[in-house]
């Protein structure tokens, strides 16, 4: 067992995503947090002026919404699949559905399919109302190998 696989196993036992997030500088930089609700990790991007891409609207930068969606997919995989390494993103396609206002944004992921090596995940992000998503994504992840 490596340090990473121990940490992931411990996370699945305790639900303490905050411990993992504290170790990822970019998660701190963005302001990501995770709440496990009904056994489903919901990732939150806290609204902040430093995330604004378009100051005229104003709106969150699309890249920060993309980062939220990709992170939410990875957290879902870590939660659901007993992987010994953090899944690696192969690709992600992001659809921007509505302008993202500068408020808290949430994302929920669904594992569409996973095999031994690859998983397909769909993610939706919303702000006030989960039935009115502001962005959606689907992505492929490599589950265990250390190289593509």
């Amino acid at each position: 067992m490596t340090e990473t696989s121990d940490a992931l196993a411990q996370l699945r036992e305790t639900g303490r995503f905050d411990l993992i997030l504290a170790a990822i500088p970019y998660a701190q930089f963005l302001g990501l947090s995770v709440d496990v609700v009904d056994d489903d990790p919901i990732t939150k991007l806290t609204g902040a002026d430093g995330l604004i891409g378009n100051p005229v609207l104003p709106a969150l930068h699309g890249g920060t919404v993309g980062a939220l969606l990709e992170s939410a997919a990875i957290f879902k995989l870590i939660w659901e699949i007993k992987s010994v390494a953090v899944p690696k993103t192969i690709n992600i396609t992001i659809d921007y559905l509505r302008s993202a206002r500068v408020v808290d944004t949430y994302a929920r992921a669904t594992i569409t399919k996973h095999g031994r090596r690859v998983a397909n995940v769909q993610v939706r992000a919303w702000q006030q109302d989960e039935t009115r998503p502001i962005a959606a994504a689907h992505a492929h992840f490599l589950l265990k190998a250390t190289e593509f």
């Binding site: 990822i24 500088p25 430093g50 890249g63 993309g66 980062a67 992001i94 659809d95």
Partner: protein
């Protein structure tokens, strides 16, 4: 550099709180092709065991560089919004190296612009990521600074 090229650099760089925070900088923008730089920073690390930047950083760089490329292809300031964005992660970026992006707007229609490009950390021939994106033109909600 023309005044319009300067305006593009400002709109996507210093005038945007998030890209300013990242240190994003347009290196050149001309005839629908934009080259941009995002300096390496420890704050942007996604994998603390290796120091590799988070995928969200690559997404933000490519989305922003694509927007700048599209605006330069249009030749006039115009409100834009990313419609969708696909990123293929080709290899991990090298820890400690700045990320570069080169995105080309290769087709524009009345409503939509199409862009494709790469992110790299050394040679353009050895990219870190590839992107394809579409941008919606003349979105209502956005008014570029200095335009009626």
């Amino acid at each position: 550099m023309t005044a319009f090229q300067g305006l593009i650099g400002k709109l996507f760089g210093a005038a945007s709180p998030h890209t300013r925070r990242l240190g994003f900088e347009v290196v050149s923008v001309h005839n629908g092709v934009c080259v941009a730089r995002l300096p390496y920073s420890r704050e942007l690390i996604g994998d603390p065991t290796t120091g590799i930047l988070h995928g969200g950083v690559v997404t933000t760089l490519l989305d922003t560089t694509g927007g700048a490329a599209v605006l330069s292809a249009l030749g006039v300031p115009m409100p834009l919004a990313t419609l969708d964005l696909r990123i293929d992660y080709l290899r991990p970026s090298a820890p400690g190296r700045d990320l570069m992006a080169r995105v080309e707007c290769y087709k524009k229609t009345r409503n939509i612009a199409f862009a494709r490009g790469i992110a790299y950390d050394d040679q353009e021939s050895d990219p870190v990521a590839a992107m394809a994106a579409t941008y919606m033109l003349r979105t209502q909600a956005f008014r570029a600074p200095g335009t009626p």
